[in-house]
């Protein structure tokens, strides 16, 4: 039997896409658990202990949460825009997952003459694609906030929109330095060129800039104004319940994994080990895990920005800093002649 290479490619991509979606679903489930444990530790509490505090039984906590969420009432508030209200959480999670199409997870592996590439697509504009997909995420939040017919939701959605687009400018600028060094927009190329020296060595300012903007893009502490509990109840997700709420929550956590993966890929060598040591997916996963832990640590530690501080910081500090970084990189590269 001869296999059509096109069908093989299609099947290969389909399997990888499903594996990534399932893996991220699992990552989301256990990130919620890990976050509760980390926060409990920081705040000297016990943390989740009904399912079981220690031992293998504790891993069932996310399962219990999921079952409970699924069987909650799926309601639609009066005067809400029913279609938009229902579609917004789906949109949020779909967009969050979509970014994973271009992130390379591991060097290619050849088994029995068939080469497996550990990315879904290696397109020439991957970095641009990431920015494009990342900026779509704001739609889901604005639509969810607007369609709920709730003032808190509306305010949360609007704040989120203004915040995300403000920090997206600096986020894009932070990556320009990396692109200048790599001379490519393909993430596979960018990762391959970081052996043995990671981009963070040449782009420390860009790296810090990216990290700050990434936290703001994911609406996490200290930039969690869109869902500031003390003023907006729960922001854009106030009127959401059951799996719809879980989907918004999932989108937020997947976005954390995504920005961590992008930071690792662009600045910390992706799947490359330090000093060219044994490249593989384990390095990427380790780097992502460290970033995720820092996200949780910040949530347990830092207070929230005020809105005017947030906007001023984004436009008056990060944007000029990003421009200065690009120009410093350009001048140094021209002077060194490479």
């Amino acid at each position: 039997m001869t296999l059509d290479p096109f069908m093989v490619m299609l099947l290969d991509v389909l399997v990888k896409a499903i594996v990534i979606v399932v893996a991220l679903l699992g990552a989301y489930a256990y990130m919620t658990l890990a976050e509760r444990y980390v926060m409990a530790r920081v705040q000297v509490r016990i943390g989740p202990n009904r399912v079981g505090r220690v031992g293998p039984i504790a891993v069932l906590q996310p399962v219990a949460d999921a079952v409970k969420t699924i069987f909650k009432e799926d309601f639609c508030p009066a005067n809400a825009d029913k279609i938009v209200y229902t579609l917004a959480p789906g949109l949020a999670v779909a967009i969050a997952l979509l970014a994973w199409a271009v992130i390379p997870l591991s060097p290619p592996l050849t088994i029995a003459g068939y080469t497996i590439h550990f990315y879904i697509a290696d397109v020439g504009i991957a970095a641009l694609y990431l920015l494009a997909v990342g900026s779509l995420g704001v739609y889901a939040i604005v639509l969810g906030g607007w369609s709920s017919n709730n003032k808190y939701s509306l305010l949360g959605g609007l704040r989120s929109a203004a915040q995300m687009i403000s920090y997206e400018v600096s986020l894009g600028l932070a990556l320009v330095g990396v692109l200048m060094i790599s001379g490519s927009l393909s993430l596979v190329d960018i990762v391959e060129k970081q052996s043995p020296i990671w981009n963070v060595v040449w782009q420390p300012v860009g790296f810090v800039l990216y990290c700050i903007c990434a936290v703001a893009e994911t609406n996490r502490v200290p930039f969690d104004l869109p869902e500031a509990e003390t003023e907006l109840v729960a922001g854009y997700s106030t009127e959401y319940g059951s799996l719809k709420f879980a989907l918004f929550y999932m989108a937020e956590y997947i976005n954390i994994v995504t920005v961590s993966a992008i930071a690792a890929t662009m600045f910390l060598g992706g799947y490359q080990g330090p000093f060219g040591l044994l490249p593989g997916a384990h390095w990427l996963l380790l780097k992502i895990a460290v970033f995720i832990f820092i996200f949780m640590w910040m949530r347990a530690t830092l207070p929230r920005f005020r809105y005017d501080q947030l906007m001023r910081f984004g436009w008056k500090v990060l944007l000029p800093l990003g421009l200065a970084n690009v120009f410093a990189t350009a001048v140094v590269m021209v002077l060194l002649g490479r």
Partner: protein, 118 residues
């Protein structure tokens, strides 16, 4: 090559299917016992007043316009950054002129208070 983008289409279909399945399960499995109080907008226990569909402060529009301006600038940076090695001094000076023009606008917005929220 357009065929390079086919995997992204496959990914799009898979994630859309996932979202659709999740929303369908949510609609099918949960109970439905609506009451007027449950369906009214949550306003911290106070009786809700007015509609939430109201006019949006103009500040948000201003931010959106500024975003479009500067984000397009960043998009112009991308091809320039990729080709920077070939362009050398020429690329640096060209981009300096481009950013100089934009900086005039940036300083203008700053002095007009466009970046201040209150």
């Amino acid at each position: 090559m357009p065929v390079d983008y086919l995997p992204i289409l496959v990914m799009l279909i898979v994630v859309s299917a996932f979202a659709a399945i999740a929303l369908t399960i949510s609609a099918l499995v949960g109970p439905r016992r609506p009451t007027p109080a449950k369906l009214s907008p949550y306003e911290s226990g106070m009786p809700p007043f007015g509609s939430a569909r109201r006019r949006v402060p103009v500040k948000y529009y201003l931010t959106a316009v500024l975003f479009i301006l500067f984000d397009i600038e960043i998009i112009f940076f991308y091809p320039w950054a990729v080709l920077f090695r070939q362009l050398g001094w020429f690329g640096l000076i060209e981009m300096a002129l481009f950013v100089l023009v934009l900086l005039v606008g940036y300083v203008y917005v700053w002095r007009k208070g466009g970046f201040d929220w209150d």
